[in-house]
Symmetry: C3
Subunit: 346 residues, 3 copies
């Protein structure tokens, strides 16, 4: 594939906002993931690129999220760029009655691209109307978190490839609190770009996937099974996507507690009921307290546990996004340097 | 103008603290603004300079201020330098009884130049006595915020130039809470370096500009008019400087509420009572809540609305300050590189 | 000494965690301090190195500490690397029940080396079990803070050298709250690698050094004197290490208040009772409030006051640690650049 050909394909990312998974096409995903794969040697520190030297990311987390914030920031640093950031809402100008439009006008004068997280649904889209540079939605409350969905899909494709399978062989079990998890909802939207896959939805009835997403999957032509039997739900999956009970989204703590630890996955269950080499994913953080423990630590050495490959993939996907939005995805190697320090642990 | 000539002029900035607008001369302002203009292509990403590669800014915000902190940080990054920063007072060593002198001694061992904001008046000057590197006052409570005054003056000169006018043709209306706003007070001091300009002060009587500043303007030889009639105050101005009611500086919330939304400026008033092309400035944030709304959003498309050009100018002025303080203002081009990424939005 | 020889000596730092002062050998300290001395011209900005350009430090302060966080961050910047950081515990994934193992797995995918501070003892060691990159303990509650101990020892050796003395001539007085100060405890462990030194322990009886550390010093063959007479304790020391009353570690504020300001050191006492040129150290922050004031400001011009040379040394030692852990200590000069800006104040 030629560089110029790639360039023309990125209609959906170049110099544009990424506010939602809506509107993303299979073609743009495929192209993005090709770039993400090109990022692997840089992220693994086999080589280094300075392609974004001098560029500035505004990493604006008006709702704190260490993991996601650092992932975006490191991705930008790995491309050679600088990161300015903020964390938390209180005391900011927003608290003095500044509109999101104004905040965006001001902050977009300070950076080349902005990642924004904010607790209010649709706040990031409102912010984007005032921004003079591309805005990436880093999560707007219960609404969207498109880069999580992209890294989840990238991980699914990669893990299947590791098993010698293609996306058309996907048998995906979504497990746990399917009602509240925005990562599950966004992933369903991306999965609906494909057709004729096997999807198992396993949850307590009260935490079932909203009809809207079930319909979306069905309309895409997938074979959807809905149930609340853990063992049955696991038996056919080559990819298992476990979720955390989103306590903070329940009406009462009491209500949330009812479901905590309901669908635990541990080594015993994995060995007894899952396909050999079945892949386990989770959007993280997983709750490792005794009363929750949805994904037991005794799975930590299991080769199928992909949860940390999944977060590692987040860096690749975010690097690729930055590169495509800023239009440097074909220039990476031009700015290559050798890595001169020791990698990892002895 | 020769490089060496410029160098000799920067008596007021090179290797010095900038703690106050006091003591700044017209000559040093003129020279600073020449450098600020040289920063425009770098800030607009038409080219890039790495002149401060390896330098470290200590961006010490002991009072949070996302906008100002990010503006300083980005300005330093745009010159190629690195930024270490802190935000907030609690938990810091200051809370354990450390003197500002000690804090400065310690932090000045970690950076090449320090920006400091702190809620207490004169705290930054006290801090500077212990610093071994230049300190820029990023705002010390109600006292001073010299870079805001400089960027305001820079904007006034630029906007007048855009209208084909010079500073000597300035007819400036200061509008709103002229009692509490430190930006207005500092701007009055800089304006008093000039003479024979037209200044209109429009506020509720209880929020009038303190006598000290009125005297300063009068003594400088300006034609000062004081009043509380919005429409009359606007009619002659080529520059209108609107302010926010500084709720946090009133004795009670009740008291502050009395004046909230008192002098609103909107498209109707602007069209009916202002000169064509009159420039609207504001130190931001503007309060866009319904009960305040001192500067209506229906002005957002008005070419005269300069509030975001004003914040953009803040980056230029701060870049210029860093360059002059660190003595690299004549070396920018030596470290030029091309910008290889896409700028702005499609 | 040849480069390769140095390389082979760093068994204790290269590609390894630094979690504790335990296990550090005299040989590895000597080698580290040689590298720290090589850092001096870079820290003093006489030249610049970009040896870690492209590397990313994860500066993870789950307990806030402006001074230590900025010191580590600046040290990494001075080597040319980038810094991603976090400050504070609340709202982080840890609060959602994530294990330290998981946090480490995730964060270690985002950086080349991690500094971690956390309020819980042994938390950093637990974190390190999940990290795929080297972890430096930046302080785990009352337990350990190994880089502080290293910079203290480095300062002792440097100050003695400044007086024309060697470590074997050390007569060290540890002064104040010897019960709670982790810096004192860690320093005692490093001092115990030597033998036959003079150590005076001066504190109120209730705040005496725990037996464990007294035994450690005695077993190492040091001449240990224990007392609560300030003047006697000072009379023989060439190095005085003063501490702060660790209010936050007392059972009640009342209890802490009893000892506040108990052993004050000021110019009068220093002149009357200390050896000429006796060196004064302090882990900082010193409490300069009237009721504490353990180290009076009237000592600020005293050449023997080494407290800010001590914090400056922290940068050298942390630069050396990063360089050794990442294995670039012999490549510094290869990446040298000139410093092109003005240093310090006029």
């Amino acid at each position: 594939m030629e560089g110029t050909a790639i360039t023309q394909e990125y209609m959906n990312f170049r110099s544009q906002h990424l506010l939602s998974v809506k509107g993303i096409t299979l073609e743009s995903i495929d192209e993005l993931f090709i770039v993400a794969e090109k990022m692997r040697p840089y992220a693994k520190r086999q080589k280094m690129t300075r392609v974004l030297e001098g560029a500035v990311l505004g990493n604006m987390f008006f709702e704190p999220s260490t993991r996601t914030r650092v992932s975006f920031g490191s991705a930008f640093n790995l491309l050679g760029g600088e990161v300015r950031e903020t964390t938390g809402l209180s005391n900011s100008a927003l608290a003095k009655g500044e509109s999101l439009y104004d905040t965006a006008q001001v902050l977009s004068g300070y950076s080349d691209v902005i990642v924004m997280r904010h607790p209010e649904p649709h706040s990031v889209s409102e912010f984007a109307t005032g921004s003079r540079v591309p805005v990436i939605n880093g999560g707007d409350g219960p609404n969207e978190h498109p880069t999580q969905a992209l890294l989840d899909l990238f991980t699914i494709k990669n893990e299947l490839a590791r098993l010698g399978q293609s996306i058309q062989q996907l048998s995906l079990t979504l497990l746990g609190d399917l009602k509240h998890g925005r990562t599950v909802h966004s992933l369903c939207q991306l999965i609906s770009l494909y057709s004729n896959l096997k999807i198992q939805l396993v949850s307590p009835k009260a935490l079932a996937l909203p009809c809207k997403y079930v319909d979306m999957l069905t309309n895409a032509g997938h074979q959807v099974e809905i149930g609340s039997d853990l063992e049955k739900g696991l038996s056919q999956a080559n990819i298992i996507y476990q979720t955390r009970i989103q306590e903070e989204r329940f009406e009462s703590e009491q209500e949330a507690k009812r479901y905590k630890g309901y669908f635990r996955l541990n080594k015993q269950i994995y060995s007894d009921h899952c396909l050999p080499n079945a892949v386990i994913m989770h959007p993280l953080p997983r709750d490792s307290r005794n009363d929750a423990n949805e994904l037991d630590n005794d799975l930590n050495k299991e080769p199928g546990l992909a949860i940390f490959r999944q977060t590692d993939n987040g860096v690749l996907v975010r690097m690729a996004l930055f590169a495509c939005i800023l239009g440097v995805e074909d220039q990476l190697e031009k700015y290559d340097k050798e890595v001169n320090w020791q990698i990892g642990l002895k």
